[in-house]
Amino acid sequence: MRAAPAGPVPRTEAAIGGVLRIGVAVSLLVIAAGTLLSFVQDGGYGTLASDVPRLAGPGGAFPRTGSWLLAGLKDLNGQAVIVAGLLLLIATPVMRVAVSIVVFGRERDRAYMAIASAVLMLLLLSFALGKSG
């Protein structure tokens, strides 16, 4: 018996590869930009040795609310820009799963649509769990 091909059509691979490549590139650019901003801004990283424990210690956490992020992005606050980049990075594999659901759907592959949807649900659940835990 001949083995079935490993993946769907090549276009799928191109789409999934593209999502991953672009997602990583964009998020790292945003993270790098945020880092540069943090160094030049007042109230950013600062220039003293005593600034490091504040930033790299447990107190370096940022307020994890949508309003802090939106307000920070509006003012181009460096740390908020980094967090946006980190969110984009985390969203990249999530987008990859979402794209594969569409691709499997187009191929009318119900079983794999269900499997990919289950993975997507779990990923969305993880955001909620972190927020509550």
């Binding site: 590869g17 490549r21 990583v24 210690g57 990859r96 794999y112 993880s126």
Partner: protein, 276 residues
């Protein structure tokens, strides 16, 4: 150390971690976490949280090229991913309740295991019995092997075992901020009957999603420090890129041995932190 120096040193360490990791075929996380805790004085929870973010970047970057070359078995990846993601969420949630020294000890064990695994004699694949589950899910695959110059077809076996090991790899990934490929790849290769290149590519494909699940938990909990995570993600990714470019001529035994020495040294140091 000023914030600028901290950033540059972390960037450099992460670059080296990504470079070494890709030269010997493991992710950067296994070196980034010991480096951040032992050298930079970052708390282990925060080091794990920052490392897992960088794992997404490296694995997604590598996965994009493997997928393009069609080596990845995407169906198999999708199926095993269900288990790794459940494991990762569990691991990340449990990590908040594990005391720091417990994490140091667990990490020391994983480092020692990885060191041993890299020196082990090449295993012989077990015979692969028919697996109705793999048939039903159409997991069997094939890819074009450039070094052999021909299409390699294979049949997947022991899917249930693969799911169980993926769950464990996911827990390790979520708990310790590593990719977890070191657990999956041997089982996929030796027990499930998958050629090593397809194992590596498929494992990598899963790692991005696995790490995204636990990274989301860590980010929302506030363990990811932007100040530390930014240079780590950028450094590890570029290091891995450089390593992939060098891979052709440099896969020598001396690099492996040097790497094992780094792992063993880190294992001892992490162990000491755990029992102190």
């Amino acid at each position: 150390m000023t914030p600028l120096v901290f950033t540059l040193v972390t960037l450099g360490i992460s670059y080296v971690a990504g470079l070494l990791g890709s030269l010997v075929g493991v992710g950067g996380g296994i070196i980034v976490v010991p480096a951040l805790t032992l050298l930079m004085g970052v708390g282990i929870q925060n080091a794990i949280a920052c490392s897992i973010v960088s794992v997404i970047a490296t694995s997604s970057g590598a996965a994009a090229s493997y997928v393009g070359e069609r080596i990845t078995n995407m169906r198999l990846g999708m199926v095993l991913e269900v288990a790794t993601v459940i494991g990762a969420i569990t691991g990340a949630c449990v990590a908040a309740r594990v005391p720091g020294r417990g994490l140091f000890l667990l990490f020391a064990i994983v480092l020692a295991f990885t060191a041993w695994w890299m020196l082990r004699p090449r295993g012989v694949a077990a015979d692969a019995p028919a697996d109705p589950m793999a048939d039903r899910l159409r997991l069997h695959g094939s890819f074009y092997d450039r070094s052999l110059g021909r299409e390699v077809a294979y049949r997947v076996s022991r899917t249930r075992l693969g799911l169980a090991v993926s769950l464990v790899a996911g827990v390790a990934s979520g708990l310790l901020g590593i990719g977890g490929g070191v657990f999956k790849v041997p089982v996929m290769n030796l027990a499930m009957g998958i050629p090593i290149k397809a194992c590596t590519a498929t494992s990598n494909f899963m790692i991005g999603v696995t790490a995204a699940a636990s990274a989301a938990v860590y980010l929302m909990r506030g363990d990811v420090l932007p100040f530390v995570a930014a240079p780590v993600a950028i450094g590890v990714l570029f290091g891995a890129r450089t390593g992939a470019g060098l891979l052709g001529g440099m896969k020598s035994r001396s690099i492996r041995i040097a790497f094992v020495a780094v792992l063993a040294l880190s294992a001892v140091q992490m162990f000491m932190k755990g029992i102190r």
